[in-house]
Symmetry: C2
Subunit: 353 residues, 2 copies
């Protein structure tokens, strides 16, 4: 690269050109489409941080423009944008693509799955990245961890859940696989656009909803109309996703490839830390200013029933696809070993207080 560049200048000089504009190294102008709206907290900061790291580390040679959902008008079209090359990059969540390929579902989080630091160990040292590559390679898409929300809360409920029978007919906004699990127990899961959640809960269109956790829930106002805030089971370590079009990536010079990969990896870790801080700060505010909020844990009987429904559904997926069997085996074996360590380290320590 340097050699060709120097030769260009050399011949330019021989030809009598004295302009220095030719001396500028090539600038790569990329675009990233994100699922989130403009100024979406935490998730949106992850993409902005990534673009900032790339710009600063490349001395302005890799410039990534972030398009939020208001611009590209397709919050759930990110995978296709990147696959077709319409966008060089995307930021979303792998489990949104389960309708296209069921095996994308396992790289975000699973009910009763790993917590964030266990899952990072699985991704980077336990074979997770290799399995994700195997799933995404056929689409010409490179997939990377994109930031963790931390352990998500089980949701805001207007009534207490004391027995499995209390789930019967419960109208709850809880999308995706977790919703299917609750449906097994007689609940009526629905998905509702974020902008209508508050009103739906207030007007009893739904009885309960889950969103994320204190980091993002406080600003939604749910605590004003649903006093029971349950601890979580369904998304113990939700990892978002960066996607890169493989062909476009190969067009980058090696140093910019390294800058991009490390900028994504750092922005992902950073989002987890940011999520933790926002949950810490917002939970403190809830406790201080909204003492009516009661933090509850589902009774053991309820948790046992939910776990049984979860296992049953997962088994149906696994029976249908050998790649699913392979991914679930890796996840479960790693989780068992990881949990043994978590239990005698962080958990034993936390129990001692």
């Amino acid at each position: 690269m340097k050699y060709r560049f120097a030769l260009t200048i050399f011949f330019a000089a021989l030809l009598g050109f004295s302009s220095v504009s030719m001396a500028a190294e090539k600038v790569y102008r990329w675009k990233l489409a994100e699922t989130w709206g403009p100024n979406f907290p935490i998730f949106g900061d992850a993409t902005k941080n990534m673009a900032k790291y790339a710009k600063e580390m490349s001395g302005g040679r890799l410039l990534i423009q972030v398009d939020s959902a208001n611009l590209h008008k397709s919050a759930f079209g990110i995978f296709d944008f990147v696959r077709t090359g319409q966008y060089e990059m995307g930021h979303s969540a792998s489990y949104y693509w389960k309708g296209k390929d069921i095996n994308t579902m396992f790289f975000t989080t699973l009910p009763f799955g790993m917590i964030a630091n266990e899952q990072y160990a699985w991704f980077y040292y336990g074979g997770g990245m290799e399995l994700m590559k195997e799933v995404y390679d056929k689409y010409g898409v490179m997939s990377f961890p994109g930031g963790n929300t931390g352990n998500q809360m089980g949701g805001w409920f207007r009534k207490e859940i004391n027995t499995v029978a209390d789930l019967q007919g419960l109208k709850m906004r809880i999308p995706g696989f977790a919703g299917e699990v609750l449906a097994e127990l007689g609940a009526s899961p629905t998905n509702i656009p974020p902008g209508e959640l508050y009103t739906s809960l207030e007007r009893n269109t739904i009885d309960a909803l889950e969103w994320v956790g204190p980091s993002l829930d406080l600003r939604m106002g749910f605590h004003k109309i649903a006093p029971y805030y349950y601890t979580g089971w369904h998304e113990p370590g939700t990892e978002l996703q960066f996607m890169v079009n493989e062909k476009k990536f190969k067009d980058l010079p090696e140093d910019l490839q390294a800058i991009l990969v490390n900028a994504m990896r750092l922005a992902a870790y950073e989002m987890y830390t940011h999520s933790q801080h926002e949950s810490i700060k917002n939970l403190a505010e809830i406790k201080k200013n909204f003492p009516n909020v009661q933090i509850k844990t589902f009774p053991k009987e309820v948790m046992t029933a939910i776990r049984a429904a979860n296992d049953k559904l997962l088994k149906q997926f696994a029976d249908a696809d050998p790649m699913t069997v392979k991914i679930l085996k890796s996840l479960r074996e790693y989780e068992a070993d990881a949990r043994a360590w978590t239990n005698i380290s962080d958990k034993a320590y936390l129990d001692s207080f």
Copy 2:
């Protein structure tokens, strides 16, 4: 930079030079001194990773040579190496400098302090970085998180600890502040070089020792001679440290400054993930191949006594120095809020199994 470079080539061309060697941009060759010996696992990988990230992202313009303790012969001289500029960078642990400045002690870990993800939130969003800068600025040294070991185990014991009386006269290798805490309860803490630990324990020169956790303990062989492996209290989230000489840092062009800062930050997060994986894997091996090892937790009575001794000692430090008061206030307030969140998120989730 680009402008001058192009002009150089231009005039070189006019003068008839065709050599392209002049086209090479300036290469910064730095040296880093680390506390660890050559090929020290995990900790040594963190420095190698950091140097690799810097080299790849800079296209070879920032090359960092890592000198291990066998070369520089001063495992605990790293702070002075960096302060004086003898080395541009160092990798060590902040609490090693407490003899020079007591306030450096609080940026690694504290008994009964925060776990890794709580502490990262404090460093990057809760004011920790600003306090660390205030402590290190006067030495012309920049200090950064350098990688987390995860929650450290309480140590390997030849006899069970059932009461506070069992700590009386206990000869234990446990250096630093935690050793002082146990001394308050009648134990005899000592420090012993790593190479002599096994023999000292085998020959009853000591009754117990703490090292790190499964990630680094298994290869030391302690499980063969001390069957009781206690869970931890004294180093819940040990964060190592990168140091950079401030003047040398300011000599770097802006893009290389960004590359260096992000390479350190990424290598630190990465080391935490690596530590987790090694503990996960090695604990599984201990359980499988050494079933005689008994994992124990100190009885509540013992923990209560240790915590009281810890609080008493910390109060003595705080009384002596207003900066210590300020740092401890920040740590304690953040820890209280962070723990409230951890308790209803990861802990509540882990408790449900």
